[in-house]
Symmetry: C2
Subunit: 592 residues, 2 copies
Amino acid sequence: MATEYQPPVADYAFLYGEAFGLDVVARATGGELTAEDATDIIAGAGEFAASVLAPLQEAGDREGARLVDGDVRLPAGFAEAYRAFVEAGWVTAEAPVSAGGDGLPGSVRAGLGEIWNASNAAFALCWLLTAGQIHALDAAASDALRETYLSKLVSGEWTGTMNLTEPDAGTDLGAIRTMATPREDGSYAIRGQKIFITWGDHDVAENIVHLVLARTPGAPDGAKGLSLFVAPRVLVNPDGTLGARNAVTTVALEHKLGIHGSPTCVLSYEDATGYLVGELGGGLAGMFVMMNSARIGMGFQATGIADRALQQAQAYAADRIQGRVLGRDGVAPIAEHPDVRRLLLSMRSDVFAMRALGVYVADLFDRAESDPALLPLAEFFVPILKGWATENAVALTSDAIQVHGGMGFIEETGVAQHYRDARIMPIYEGTTAIQSNDLIGRKVIRNQGATAAELFAQVEQTVADLRAVAGAADAGAAAGDEGATAGATGAVAGRAADRLERAAASARRATADLIGFAESPRDAHAVSVPYLMLLGVLAGGWMHGLAVVAVAAHDDAAAEDAGRLTLADFYGAHHLPRVHALAETVASGETA
Amino acid sequence: MATEYQPPVADYAFLYGEAFGLDVVARATGGELTAEDATDIIAGAGEFAASVLAPLQEAGDREGARLVDGDVRLPAGFAEAYRAFVEAGWVTAEAPVSAGGDGLPGSVRAGLGEIWNASNAAFALCWLLTAGQIHALDAAASDALRETYLSKLVSGEWTGTMNLTEPDAGTDLGAIRTMATPREDGSYAIRGQKIFITWGDHDVAENIVHLVLARTPGAPDGAKGLSLFVAPRVLVNPDGTLGARNAVTTVALEHKLGIHGSPTCVLSYEDATGYLVGELGGGLAGMFVMMNSARIGMGFQATGIADRALQQAQAYAADRIQGRVLGRDGVAPIAEHPDVRRLLLSMRSDVFAMRALGVYVADLFDRAESDPALLPLAEFFVPILKGWATENAVALTSDAIQVHGGMGFIEETGVAQHYRDARIMPIYEGTTAIQSNDLIGRKVIRNQGATAAELFAQVEQTVADLRAVAGAADAGAAAGDEGATAGATGAVAGRAADRLERAAASARRATADLIGFAESPRDAHAVSVPYLMLLGVLAGGWMHGLAVVAVAAHDDAAAEDAGRLTLADFYGAHHLPRVHALAETVASGETA
């Protein structure tokens, strides 16, 4: 039995209003929305998710999606939940104003993304892909396509999919063989097989819009020959009503380790009708808008699944009595056992770091719209967020099982589902290796570490801020006018400054080592994942450093703040030291 | 589709004959068996496992054990496989001579243990528990019990189980409530419920011997009041023939994340007949013999499951073509991609370290029989082997999925089963936290780090040996009489010496830090798992160091040796640096 979902409203209130030293929501919206408004939105979404989506999570896993006479049937309750989701406006909330959506700032959409995924990751994938397609069509579609398809996606009436992978074209999209042959009426006949199509067929909405990467006759080999097409499940009449079924069929449904409620389809296109999106040969660039959106979305999914597993572990550990607890009198729950407490703090401190980085990156993209100089740093963070957060989430769900002991291995307990669901995250939307190649190739080596240096400089600014906090606490204590809380804040800030400074130094060294491999690319690529993880762990430590600075500036919520200090201190002792080990690995290059 | 199982015969030949600088099998058997004989045994077991056990692994997962009208039915083929296993003598092979077994040395039983688990972990659990019970009864049972029960276990006719856990007594065995009330005939009436009983009921042998921890009337509270009982599934007549069913019933079968072929039972004892083993109140000590055996066995299971997952990943990566491989001409399989190669080397170097430590520890127990001064070090390694190897195996099976990309998440691929199966290992037979408490409490703090210092001194001896290898290679190169291989050996040995020396220094510091927490036990226990993992990673590096020294001493198999050098070098660059990060964590104690 999964525990009830508790939306992390207090964390988002802190992240929106305090963590980054100002109200990021007000900055992003020119004051139209404030952190307080955004927190209300998060609370509302959390309530919806807890009451409508979360109750379907386990049943979705047990029942799973089924293929019945060629059509996919989703688990009981999914269609009703989707209707409620649309009616509550949560699809439109994701869409930009230019596409007819609410245009919520990225920081708020980050919170929503986490909440949908935490409450029901299998369900949330539908939303995630539709949202990604909305961004892709908004960037590249003609007015006619916008009117016919984009508007229906934004309203939530139809859902979207991403069709890239083929049996012999996974990571290597240049090998795609699906053909799109032009017809006289301006449409294309699409023929080929696509695999691993998430929500590729279902019965929760009246139509599905497939965004398909395909090759046109005579197009060059490789990725340059790919174009992007919209192909609906059901054809649309000129008057906008639905017509006949398009020639795309679901030939199989995958039997997966997890996310059973999310149908993963093999789709066969048999001269299905499609419409070109953007320019011929611009397919990869067009799809990249959707992929980038999906990769950032994976960061939110990782945080969501990890937090849900953490919540279940916390609830179990708070309830379960077993053995005498060291250093505690009387009966205490296992949450008080030193090692169970370690596991819970490990998970909590990581979840906070992932959540905070998600908000930071989403907000950075918003800021980059008016200040393009920020775009490289925003894009730098995409592979880090996707790679580090999803790898973390797998480890976190494993820890959540461990907290349960033997009960964690029993399916009915419910925590094993998170472990199974999480495992796909470091694979889909580009494996961790793909993320790390993007990171070191396009974003580190190409500009000689300039963007990485920006990050390190910001981390070092936070080190200076932490030292100021520690110094002020010392000065206050010397003057005898300090309470215990400020003393603790100062001590934590001092330790955080020392640890973060050393971590940044290791990261600078690793970056120089990596750039030193520019002439022997296999050396760089053989340690690209360790390098990505290093930057992720460092970024997480930075987020905790910012939190400590914010806590010192806002001493109005002592208890809540003490929790944040504990998490920051724990992260510095248990997670951040990995940076040094990873830096040593990066320096080694490829083992001969 | 799982790939065919390839028993690691070459590795065992190396471990038995070369890795530890002498023939460990000949030493253990006074020359009765040699490394060559032992390797033949391993090869024979491997052939049996590959042809009889491995083919049932996937079907066992899919079909699983079922409870039918109160009796457990195992998947198709399990009963036939068990009969073949017994007839081939593999149960008797495990038993000591004193119990009527073959008395194979520990190093050979380590290899067998790995092989049974690699080929079919669910099946192997039956063997593992029977073997553990054989050791427990051999140590404590009366002649009558030996004759009636032990002989049937050693012949393989009956199988054994371990009955400890109850709903409110998991980690805390002192809370056990099952009662054993003496009867006039000298037997006991056992009443209570036991959960998580592995192979607690099945249809592959004619009887099952339950070893039950229970409390007697008037016994003291806590663990001191526990005694050990043998309770058969079917009662045994005075003439040794089977009689009526005993009053123990299977009330439920758990629905688990993995090892579906292994029945996990809830057993209800309703005044079932049992017989005291050893002294009243000596239950925990008696069970500890079985538990110790099972914990070491978990090290072999971890190696086995990890190696099987690795084999599958290697086979997939050697076969799958995808994308252009950096720095390689023409078409190359994904195994050549730098990051796939990293994942495979990471797994291979860890599996070798786990396998080598398993042989080392098993052999150390043999040596301790004639030299009790070695016993503390042997026992020191039990929690490390169990904790580190099983945690590693979980991570390794995750890596094996990652190598497969999207296919890894599809159940039919078969690799996800290893990921599911592996997850129980850090939990059963004592969680990692239980192992780490045993390690720091009984084996480090109690003797002020004396045993740990023995280990570090041995590691440092290997550092000196590695320096000698590096020096000899340098001298040879200077004299101009060295081939490329010896030069590479020298370079790897030099790096290994440096890395291992620093790792040992970090481990010494961490041990001193831990002992420094003696007065604040929560600080020690809050970092006990990181400390255990530190020692495991160090021990793994030591095993690789020994391998490099052995390779330098035997330059007759250059290609095979080059592989060992690569693994050692990789381990030093990718795994060993974790020691420093973990040492920093250990120093931090409990986060306030």
